[in-house]
Symmetry: C2
Subunit: 694 residues, 2 copies
């Protein structure tokens, strides 16, 4: 073991903190760049302010609602678990909330400036929108890396490394739980407002998107910020933090006290921040088609990571590592990380095939629209289900390969490598909502039509990016959840062995021949179905309320449609805010409830719970992919028709395509993405409650 190896082992965590700090510094540099850009005319700033006010009001109320639940869980953890886990929970919850605020704040800053920049040149608009997204990406990744590493370092000093890692599970729970709420609340908000605005505004009254005469238009724009930006940022914080914690935990549990196992995930994360910065910088200097430039950024990030991962791996594990009793070479660990890096472009390409209007699936939906609403819906539902095939098979392949290289830890390393690109990936993801909002501001501020055309073109690119990054998020969530399940099994074994409740290993087989495992798979498989059903119900209910309110306004003030009366935007904002906060509670708490009930009922116990965890992952993965891809395909089928194909706007096919897009909205922006944090919160909670119930 040479000097370099020793120093990486000892200073790996601080080094990753330095990388995170560099990322944050770069983010602040970008914020300055975005803020420096002109923020448009009076009317644009006014609209932007109204949207910001609505978004901030919503987030504040959301914080209050969530805080009540978080305090209850904190107290429970404080009493039934240990203090450090409870404190970790608070930190995770706080950072997840902070990520949401950051996402919203930056988006609002960038929206109006993108609209203004679009009046100059497309490239300017692209850069501002992308940099806005990059700020969120870097801040969120930096926040996740810093919060986990600082907490770990302090806790390790106070209570030792092992206990510190177990307390990190509390941090993961805090992050995940808040993220479930943020994704659900924001998702319900944005889609209820969107669907409501579309149903009456577009379909019944023939208004264009973002027409200021539509009373729900401000609510719709607020929704984009609290759902797509704030919700997404909280989600990514969660994904990153939980995967990091999962990898550390898997390292602790399967590498038998090898300290490098703990440091390695941090180092991978730190390296990739540097890669992300290079990718983001590339977008700011490159010229070319927006989609190509953005994909270039991803490739640069992957390449830099792939190059730097090797020396890091070789120096941390100079003699390899013994994982589950087998000695693995540094090359094997490195290959596992490479699988993670390769997964990103592969999943991106696969999702792109299913959701881009250049390929058969979306065209099929568009053609099905020609025969009506129902055939459009049938085609879209089928397309979403088809879209599960290749990604799931590929995820399965990745599991086999990484497990072959380095067991459970190999899967964990691959997830961490995959997520290490989150900085750039979020930049792509945030890009869409920002340009979408910019377009909205342009229309509402009566800017020339050409500007809307510029933002629309960027929005179309952003749309594909969002779909694609959702596939990435779900694939990583599935793998991360599997790592957590593996940790559940190991932790359960460790607990029962140390508490002398267990004599034989037989108990821990979680065999499919055991009816308890099958019942667990059934209960777990049920959770995503019921969870998403509640989420869609919530959107339907809240959207119905918006529709009724808009209809009421249009009836009582017919002058709104002629432009003589001013719509009451505020009542719509208010209605959606209340509905979203009310409706998110049941689905968000349902998974927690299920885990605790199964754990509490003695004849069920740890084996059924194990089955439950895997069952949730299996059906959750399928539903999440089917919903997000199906929704995106519907959306792009509509856009394909709006581009003038199959009769174009206003045709019979277009009306059917709008219906499909509206159904796809809660699919892809509420229910589907909320499955990600849900399958993880279930697995994390199970790990946490082992010593309480078993």
């Amino acid at each position: 073991m040479n000097f370099l190896a020793l120093s990486i082992l000892n200073f790996g965590v601080p080094l990753s903190m330095v990388c995170a700090a560099i990322g944050l510094a770069f983010a602040f540099f970008l914020i300055a760049a975005v803020t420096r850009a002109p923020s448009g005319n009076e009317r644009m700033r006014e609209i932007s302010a109204a949207v910001q006010e609505g978004a901030r009001a919503y987030l504040n109320r959301q914080v209050k609602t969530i805080t009540v639940i978080a305090v209850v869980i904190f107290i429970l953890l404080f009493i039934f678990k240990d203090h450090s886990t409870a404190i970790g929970f608070v930190i995770g919850a706080f950072c997840s909330l902070a990520a949401g605020f950051i996402g919203m704040r930056v988006a609002v800053l960038a929206n109006v400036r993108t609209a203004q920049a679009a009046s100059v040149a497309q490239l300017n608009a692209l850069r501002i929108a992308f940099n806005g997204g990059s700020v969120t990406g870097l801040l969120v990744v930096g926040l996740a890396l810093l919060s986990v590493s600082i907490f770990y370092m302090i806790a390790a000093k106070l209570i030792g490394s092992d206990a510190a890692i177990r307390s990190l599970v509390g941090l993961a729970l805090g992050g995940s739980l808040i993220s479930v709420f943020a994704r659900l609340g924001g998702g319900i908000y944005t889609k209820a407002a969107d669907v409501g605005a579309d149903l009456v505004g577009k379909i019944e009254s023939g208004l264009e998107e973002d027409d200021p005469r539509n009373p729900a238009v401000i609510a719709d724009n607020v929704g984009d910020n609290v759902g797509d930006c704030a919700g997404m940022a909280a989600d990514v914080f969660e994904t990153y933090a939980v995967s990091l914690v999962g990898a550390i935990l898997a390292g602790l549990l399967t590498l038998g006290g090898n300290p490098a196992a703990i440091v390695y995930p941090f180092v991978l994360g730190g390296i990739s921040v540097l890669g992300s910065i290079c990718g983001i910088a590339f977008v700011n200097v490159a010229r070319g088609k927006p989609a190509a430039v953005l994909m270039g950024a991803v490739m640069i990030n992957a390449l830099i990571s792939a190059i730097l991962f090797w020396p890091a791996t070789r120096n941390l594990f100079p003699d390899g590592a013994t994982i589950a009793g087998v000695l693995r070479s540094p090359a094997q660990l490195y290959f596992a990380s490479l699988v993670g890096l390769v997964m990103t472009p592969v999943i991106v390409a696969l999702t792109n095939y299913y959701t881009s209007s250049h390929f058969r699936p979306v065209k099929k939906i568009a053609h099905a629209s020609e025969t009506g609403h129902a055939t459009n819906i049938i085609a879209g539902l089928a397309a979403g289900q088809h879209a599960t095939a290749l990604p799931v098979l590929f995820i399965g392949l990745a599991i086999l390969v990484t497990f072959h290289f380095a067991g459970l830890y190999g899967i964990a390393v691959a997830v961490m490598a995959m997520l290490s690109m989150a900085g750039v990936i979020i930049s792509l993801d945030s890009f869409g909502p920002i340009t979408d909002n910019a377009g909205g501001i342009a229309v509402m501020a009566h800017l020339p039509k050409e500007i809307r055309a510029v933002t629309d073109e960027l929005d179309a690119v952003g749309n594909t990016m969002i779909a694609v990054t959702k596939g990435y998020a779900i694939a990583s969530a599935g793998l991360a959840a599997l790592v957590l399940f593996g940790s559940y099994v190991e932790e359960l074994r460790a607990h029962l062995t140390s508490s002398l409740k267990l004599a034989t290993d037989q108990f821990f087989q979680f065999s499919l021949q055991d009816p308890k495992v099958i019942v667990g798979l059934f209960i777990g498989g049920l959770l995503p179905f019921v969870f998403t059903a509640f989420s869609m119900d919530a959107v339907g209910k809240a959207a119905g309320a918006v529709v009724r309110e808009v209809r009421r306004q249009l009836q009582t003030k017919p002058g709104i449609l002629t432009g003589q009366d001013r719509p009451e935007y505020g009542t719509c904002v208010d209605i959606v805010t209340k509905a979203a906060l009310r409706e998110m509670i049941v689905p968000a708490l349902l998974p927690l409830f299920a885990v605790v009930v199964v754990a509490m009922i003695k004849p069920l116990g740890p084996v059924v719970l194990g089955g439950l965890l895997v069952g949730t992952i299996v059906t959750g993965l399928f539903l999440a992919i089917a919903m997000t891809s199906g929704g995106a395909a519907w959306d792009n089928a509509k856009k394909f028709i709006e581009e003038g194909n199959l009769g174009g706007k206003g045709s019979f096919a277009h009306a059917a395509a709008v219906t499909g897009d509206t159904v796809g909205d809660p699919y892809k922006d509420t229910a589907g993405p909320a499955i990600n944090p849900m399958i993880k919160v279930v697995n994390i909670l199970a790990i946490l409650i082992i010593p309480i119930f078993f």
Copy 2:
């Protein structure tokens, strides 16, 4: 062991054959009763003949298509397996086809007579429709019981009992495979014609259901017969035969050569034929509300079975039975059978809650229709997913309880007990399509409107019955598939032990910690998603072809709508026939293909295959329940509005509800029910190929 016990043991199988023969005799008695009823006027007979001709032509072509595939599989089995399995396959396939023909033939007989009877009194119509269904029920159950018992008795004489039971798996495969084709082909046919007829006829041209001016109207009615009647009959044959074979196989593999284990499932089946006859007789003498009379028949069947099961169990297992090393009392086996009997009414009640317009879920969809197509669809999708919760939890409970009583054999006994009621249950299920067709004939033959009102009322009852019996079919399919999976594991162990490929038991844990199991769960979980996606695509494609053809006819002959030109019914029938047969191939072969590929690829092998089997059961169960219940809920929400609620027919809400109903059609009548045979065919094939690949 007394004399009675000995004689049941020795004569149990022949006795059950006698019961089956009594059932067949009763069926012929009912056929005579139905045939005696007047068959209406000239025009009605003419229409009936046209429908019958179309249905027969379709089934004949279907037989040809399937025969090619069946011959290939027969040859493969003959070469790679043994001759008796190959012969069993042919018998199973032939009986399944025969069941389909019987179902179609009887339905066509009963349709026109029900229409005629409706002009006399509702009760007469109810009895003819129900007796038509009963004939199918008794014939199919009798056919299944007889084919399995005769094959078993002859094969046992020739090659010994154990080998005979293993050859029965071939019979099960034949039945299942044909059933997948029949369900899919018939399902695609009926829904493509229905959706096509509705989209242009109802929505674009404003024609009523079954208006003779609609060029697709005959195809639509043919579809009801080949899908709902022939497809369903083949499906039930399969369900019954496979569950019987599964129970026998589980008995052989887990009861260590106790001959009573083999005889017991036959005896349960035989007893229930008697119970079914009593239930059917009850409907023919009882008076009262249709729904109450039908439920009374189910209760009588259950009660008679519950009473007679006990002496049969006690006499077959006077000293109990040793199952998987534990001695179980006769009472424990009896309790397992009781669980099966109780499951039927429970699942029926649960499904009824989710799909009947008297309860909240359907009303919610109806109310969501008021805000448009999209909110109707969202509400329906959510309702279908919600509908999985209670049935799945209850199935899980039944698994735990029956396993507790008698291990895997306990689950098998429960399934057999549950299916023993199939005779009466099918009577309920066939009831709906027969009254639906009767209504169609009444409208097409220009009978007075009152007659349509009578058949419509019966159709509404039939509609709920169909939904409810689908829940029953899926629950039993899930349990039967689990029994088959258990048999796969036991058979694999037996094979590898006897071929000395296996030293330790460790290999067979199918542990969730094994990544191969997880990957198997993923691949298996994928199958129902892709299978149903293909099925829906097929309906969409075929329906699109119908729409284009109907539009063409209406454009080239405008006189059709005014009644001056005669529509070309034949071209529509032809188009759907070809489309259905073409589109059923890929989805039907997909599961077979997946099983063989996973078995062939060495790094995957038996463990991944085991995971695949369970994965298919898990997601298959959820999708099947969600699709059939969701579809039925959409249907009844539309009917609820058509009854005059929320604006009634022609309102904005009604248009949205029609869209939902149309989306629900392939859900509940094509994709959803086809999952049942699919999850079984996968499990049966896996058992069959063990000695070939492992």
